[in-house]
Symmetry: C2
């Protein structure tokens, strides 16, 4: 049975032991805002992912997803942009930039002694409005001292409609104008543009994943979680909580988190780790994922 155990999948938990913890602004490392961090505990040097939470969502509500990613050998830093009092995406982007700068000085201080971040391998992700913030940061709407090597939007949303979007507007409504010179990945949800009937949909047509992908300059890739909703990748209890307002898929939320986590890991393995086989495997056979991914699109040039 040696063969079976040696086949690991990005859709399963990785083999690296991880620890989750929160760093307050009062910490000696002086982070610009509270941070939720998930990091390996084993001695090694790891690439880093900066993750931006969505509208009215706490950074800790993604703990299961971020643990999945980290267990494949990544340090994940998720800033909390606000508590209770909403701020503008412009302000969120400024905070995200400050957190990025903090990584160089602060991150090593808060990790276990022999766990080292490799900041030459830094990627960016975000969910919902956090996807907008991630793109705003990558596009330079707030300056950073570090460079990102790849960006992955998880059901990113640029506003309420094409004509009603907060600054900074990301979408231009011209294909391939998001010219970031880094690989772009987009994960969409098939139910994100649907309403529960209580409030409007969270990821309306025209400002959601489809247009973000349309405007992504290759190399770019796209994955639609066809039967899931906008908040279905949150922690189990939070996804249930969100489902009153946010259309939710009928399938297992754990499968959704594994699918999203697996795509993120495969994407990072390729563009931070230089190992393309996991991502290529998803392009070739989307059915290896625990949920329906349809369509899956890869644009190389």
């Amino acid at each position: 049975m040696a063969l079976a155990t040696s086949i690991s999948s990005v859709f399963d938990q990785g083999s690296v032991k991880v620890k989750s913890f929160t760093i307050k602004t009062s910490d000696l490392s002086s982070p610009p805002t509270q941070l939720f961090i998930v990091a390996p505990v084993e001695e090694n040097t790891y690439p880093v992912l900066l993750f931006c939470h969505g509208f009215c969502i706490d950074n800790t509500w993604y703990s299961q997803l971020l643990q999945h990613i980290s267990s494949h050998g990544y340090i994940v830093v998720a800033p909390q942009f606000y508590h209770y009092m909403l701020i503008s995406p412009t302000k969120e982007t400024e905070i995200a930039a400050k957190v990025t700068d903090w990584l160089s000085t602060g991150l090593s201080q808060v990790l276990k002694e022999k766990v080292k971040p490799d900041l030459t391998k830094l990627a960016l992700s975000g969910h919902s409005r956090g996807g907008k913030v991630a793109f705003a940061l990558a596009l330079g709407h707030a300056p950073t001292s570090l460079k990102f090597s790849a960006i992955l939007g998880i059901d990113p949303v640029d506003g309420q409609s094409p004509s009603n979007r907060a600054q900074p507007k990301i979408l231009t409504y011209v294909p391939r104008t998001l010219d970031l010179e880094i690989p772009i990945g987009i994960i969409g949800t098939g139910l994100g543009d649907q309403s529960t009937g209580i409030i409007p949909p969270f990821a309306p047509d025209g400002v959601n994943h489809a247009e973000f992908f349309n405007e992504s300059k290759p190399p770019s890739c796209y994955f639609l979680a066809k039967e899931y909703g906008h908040c279905d990748m949150l922690d189990e209890s939070k996804a249930s909580l969100a489902s009153w307002a946010c259309k939710s898929g009928k399938g297992s939320k754990e499968d959704m988190r594994r699918a999203v986590g697996g795509i993120v890991v495969a994407f990072l393995n390729d563009y931070l780790g230089g190992e393309s086989k996991d991502l290529e495997a998803i392009f070739e056979k989307p059915s290896t994922a625990p949920i329906v991914l349809d369509p899956v699109i890869s644009v190389k040039e």
Copy 2:
């Protein structure tokens, strides 16, 4: 100077002499609606383009554009869907289907004796809401007895906003879902999403060329007439007339018509004529066009 004269461009008038004429429903050939036809007069067999006019626009208002296309060896048939009294896109699609069926029996009757249509080489195009109708027809919203080999939308528009679109809705807000199994071309205008301040824009973000391209299954291609407006390919006098309500480019409208006409010809040469060099030349060097085309995108698979 033999070399210079031998270089012909799709952006120039072609060498084929053409004639424009209107066929009324009272004609012996019994067309389902009034038709504006532009056809070569020289003896030969020619591929056919069915062209659907835009919202509140007469089929004859495209005479210069359609003459340009026809002069490269194509028969163009442009039905008039309504006069004065607007009808629904569903109804327009039904009429377009009837006109398609009429081509087999009626078209030869109205052409000069030795001018023959080759209905095995039939393409579809449309401007503005006529682009929506063209896609509706290709998608089978009304059945036809003939098959289309390619479709090209000229600043197509699916409605007023993603959430406000008349039936049949074409866009799905999922990339590459317009699975027509035929090549798709999209020409957009850079100013189509802008308003003159009098009425809303004719081709608003989220329902225009960008999303049509995003949803086109390859092979697909995209051309943005960056500095021109939604009605700038109409006949000279009509483009001026339209400019009160429809944001217009500052450049020469003749150049715009030549650019759009040239793209249509290159597209038809490739997908009806089997000669790809003209289209490839535009992909390779968009600056050969008489106007700024930016971006130009070709997706092969």
